[in-house]
């Protein structure tokens, strides 16, 4: 296989919301590394995120291509116009981006727009026989022979085998590419509801103002169902308790 490209995205940390390396894309990179020595890494995004993108270079890649995103553009439109002229034979993607509200549709839209077959949930690729192992549920696997040009999405069950080396992350090169758009309106379905990209992040977890101790004491202070309280009356309390126990059939002579 001559040319392999991996589309990489930036994930958001589920707790802190910070941008980080996407494990799904790191799996795709691990598969790509097995397929070819020279792998192209392609990212559509902002140059401000270059530092985070360097994490991918730290996995053992000398350079990546960063296509600058213009406001309002769709990632797919930018990618299609970029890949149309200079398309690698095999394009790998992670199963789904791990930001927020990600659909995992990008590879499908690309496959449709570039008229390429798509193989989803690939676990590994054997370059010698040109076959891919596909993930199926319940421990089943399927061997597929790969077409010459294809888009593969890598299963989230594929192993993370690449090691991060900080020196490689520092020394790698980021080539910035100006973006162009190509309308792919023919791909969009009429039934889709399309929303513009929402930058920034929202917290995934609801932040409670009260601390754990406050919640604990509040729970304890809540009324427990308005039970009966007997004070300063020993005889009556004994009567009442025996009555209750008899009601519940907990006295040996009451049953």
């Amino acid at each position: 296989m001559n040319q392999v490209a991996v589309l990489i995205s930036l994930a958001r940390h589920p707790k802190s919301g910070r941008l980080m390396l996407s494990p799904n894309d790191a799996r795709a990179l691990a598969v790509a590394k097995e397929m070819a020595d020279d792998v192209r890494l392609i990212h559509v995004g902002e140059t401000a995120h270059a530092l985070t993108l360097r994490q991918y270079l730290g996995l053992g890649f000398p350079s990546l291509e960063l296509i600058e995103m213009t406001d309002g553009a769709d990632v797919c439109e930018v990618l299609v116009s970029y890949l149309r002229n200079d398309a690698p034979e095999v394009i790998l993607t992670g199963l789904c981006a791990l930001g927020q509200e990600d659909t995992g549709l990008v590879p499908y839209v690309l496959a449709e727009a570039l008229s390429r077959p798509l193989v989803d949930r690939v676990l590994s690729v054997d370059s010698a026989s040109n076959t891919a192992q596909q993930f199926l549920p319940r421990g089943q696997r399927r061997q597929l022979s790969l077409p010459e040009c294809a888009i593969l999405t890598i299963s989230d069950k594929a192993p993370l085998t690449l090691e991060y080396v900080a020196r490689r992350a520092r020394e790698g090169l980021i080539h910035e590419v100006p973006s162009q758009r190509e309308s792919i309106a023919s791909v969009w379905s009429d039934q889709w509801v399309r929303e513009s990209r929402r930058p920034g992040r929202r917290r995934l977890t609801i932040k409670s103002q009260a601390h754990g101790w406050d919640r604990f004491t509040k729970r304890l202070a809540s009324p427990g169902g308005g039970g009966e309280v007997i004070k300063n009356d020993l005889e009556r309390s004994v009567d009442r308790v025996l009555e209750v126990l008899a009601e519940k059939k907990l006295l040996p002579n009451a049953s």
């Binding site: 427990g224 009966e228 309280v229 300063n232 004994v238 308790v241 025996l242 209750v244």
Partner: protein, 39 residues
């Protein structure tokens, strides 16, 4: 749930179905006495 405690502000007293404010030891002895009489 039945709670026996001297402290009537105790959380168990608030939550119990029936709460008795008394010294548990003497109260329990009187319960035993009563049950012996019944038996």
């Amino acid at each position: 749930m039945i709670a026996v405690n001297l402290d009537e502000t105790c959380d168990l007293v608030k939550r119990a179905d029936l709460a008795v404010i008394a010294d548990a030891e003497t109260w329990m002895q009187s319960v035993i006495d009563r049950m012996e009489v019944l038996a």
